[in-house]
């Protein structure tokens, strides 16, 4: 393997460990993923574009990407707030709250889906409060937004939190001695420092949201053209044995995901550089 030049080391097991890693990675991830691209290659370009730009499909993109973007934005604001409160202030039950922030990571998405549907339906604990305003949440696009906000929450909190913890108090003290008020200090000193982490958290939440399935389908209502997300459309096509159609949509989603992965890697590299330079 000329690609894998290595420097000498006295430690054993390099060949075995790398060989197993590459084999397992290929079998579980790379070869099956390539199946999606090869399957799509059997379609003509015209058939492919027709598949991925059908009106129902376009509507699902709008909902999936639009709701994901909005949810990630909500998470950026709320996540920064939660991270700030957890790092800077004391209050009773803080340790518990801190641990529960990871709930969306740990709670199976199906459970989250039915729980959110129950709470945000018109007779649910929270949905009920919106009835007088004539606002329905569950079984509308708004429900999709709620579910995507739920599953994206920990990403922003957990990327911003360590950066806030590392922030030297001297920086803020210096700003104070130079005459800056608290708000100015936050806007000019704290915020720029956490910005790379905040953007990373946003991108992670967004990437997770566009692929999300389990928590959304129970609360979305799944009406074609209105509240149908792209992953659900893939499953629908699959259940109709339209493998080519399902795969074409999957390839579009995969390309978006890979682009996001690249972006996230760049953002993380930027974050690390910022922190190393500080």
């Amino acid at each position: 393997m000329p690609l894998l030049l290595r420097r000498h080391s006295v430690l054993p097991g390099f060949g075995l460990a790398l060989g197993f890693t590459l084999l397992y990675l290929s079998l579980v991830v790379l070869i099956p993923l390539s199946a999606a691209f090869l399957k799509t290659a059997s379609l003509t370009w015209g058939a492919f574009t027709a598949e991925v730009t059908a009106p129902r499909v376009l509507a699902s993109y709008r909902l999936t990407f639009g709701a994901s973007f909005l949810a990630a934005s909500i998470n950026a604001v709320a996540g920064l707030l939660v991270a700030w409160v957890l790092v800077r202030y004391r209050f009773p039950g803080k340790r518990l709250v801190d641990a529960l922030v990871d709930l969306p990571f740990a709670l199976p998405t199906a459970v989250a889906g039915i729980a959110l549907a129950a709470v945000y339906s018109t007779n649910g604990w929270i949905g009920r409060l919106f009835v007088p305003l004539d606002v329905k949440i569950a079984f509308t696009p708004l429900g999709v937004l709620v579910a995507l906000t739920f599953i994206g929450l920990p990403f922003v909190v957990r990327t911003v939190q360590p950066v806030l913890e590392d922030l030297e108090p001297e920086l803020e003290e210096a700003a104070a001695t130079l005459g800056a008020g608290r708000l100015q200090t936050f806007a000019r000193v704290v915020f720029p420092t956490v910005l790379p982490a905040l953007l990373t958290g946003f991108a992670l939440a967004f990437a997770r949201a566009i692929g999300e399935y389990g928590s959304v389908i129970f609360i979305a209502g799944n009406m074609p053209m209105v509240s149908e997300i792209t992953p659900l459309l893939i499953i629908t096509k699959l259940e109709q044995y339209d493998y080519a159609g399902a795969t074409a949509l999957a390839v579009v989603m995969l390309l978006v995901s890979f682009a996001l992965l690249l972006l996230i890697n760049l953002l993380q590299w930027w974050t690390r550089r910022r922190r190393a330079a500080a």
């Binding site: 709930l103 199976p108 989603m253």
Partner: protein, 290 residues
């Protein structure tokens, strides 16, 4: 690891002394408002839905609850869920250790690409994770005919469920171990080799004991995802009751049949699993930080 690093608060002012706020602290009302806002957000999006699971599960009484979680289909679903986790977690654990050993302890070209590829399953929608296995092992797939000729079933059967679970939990252990083992360097391993230790001895006696908390952390997260996976498993399962239903799929079927109490009863088991996971995770983080 996270909650413990509190900035030191100013000591309570002596009686009668005028309180001077620290230059870098917000006024009390701002603090209270921010805490209130954060908790309100977390309550509407996290705490209320979590409470709703247990409330709905027990609404029809303990008897209904008990019956729901002990009926044969529910038990079969629990068994399959445990089986999928029992296969996929050890596989990904071995993979994680091997990948971290190669990546953290050796220099080679293409390393960054490899690290990115290992993270790939996290950025793939679970639905697509299921789909790609259908494309390989399904009746129309690459290996479809071969499998049929040998009377083997992967899709709509247990092997497919296990494969999908392995895929979605693939990076968990590796991504915990790689940065940890990189940070620890190779000096201790070299010292062990100079003192005469052989390959497995270095791994067992030096490397693994040093990363045991990170390893456990990865396993806990990996296990939670393995038991809770829904989208990917849903695509490959075929939803055959008592046969290819995992617990999350069982929840879906009951819910779609309007058996809400039973659906939430099954869901409450998974919610408990999530809470145990979070408790273990918090415990490991605290051990870790020492």
């Amino acid at each position: 690891m996270t909650a413990l690093a509190l900035p030191s608060q100013p000591a309570a002012p002596a009686a009668g002394a005028r309180r001077i706020d620290r230059a870098t602290a917000e006024p009390a009302w701002v603090r209270l408002a921010l805490i209130g806002l954060a908790l309100a957000f977390l309550t509407t999006f996290l705490f209320v839905p979590l409470a709703a699971v247990f409330y709905e599960a027990l609404r029809k009484g303990v008897v209904v609850y008990a019956r729901a979680i002990t009926e044969p289909d529910a038990l079969a679903a629990v068994r399959l869920t445990l089986l999928a986790a029992a296969i996929s977690v050890p596989l990904n654990l071995v993979f994680g250790v091997a990948a971290a050993w190669a990546i953290a302890k050796f220099e080679f070209r293409g390393k960054n690409v490899l690290v990115t590829l290992i993270d790939l399953p996290f950025s793939v929608s679970p639905v697509i994770a299921g789909l790609i296995y259908v494309l390989v092992f399904g009746l129309q797939g690459w290996l479809g005919e071969t499998l049929r000729d040998h009377d083997l079933k992967v899709i709509f059967a247990v092997p497919g469920i296990v494969l999908a679970t392995v895929f979605v939990t693939f990076p968990f252990v590796a991504r915990e171990l790689i940065p940890l083992m990189q940070a620890q360097g190779v000096e201790e391993e070299e010292a062990a080799v100079v003192l005469g230790a052989r390959g497995w001895q270095v791994l067992w006696r030096v490397t693994l004991p040093n990363v045991k908390w990170g390893l456990l952390y990865g396993v806990i997260l990996c296990n939670a995802r393995a038991m809770g996976e829904f989208g990917a498993v849903s695509v490959v399962s075929g939803h055959i009751r008592g046969m290819t239903n995992t617990l999350p799929l069982h929840v879906e079927i009951l819910y779609n049949e309007y058996q809400f109490a039973a659906a939430f009863a099954a869901a409450s088991l998974l919610a408990l699993l999530a809470l145990v996971t979070l408790a273990l995770k918090a415990w490991v983080e605290r051990r870790f930080s020492h």
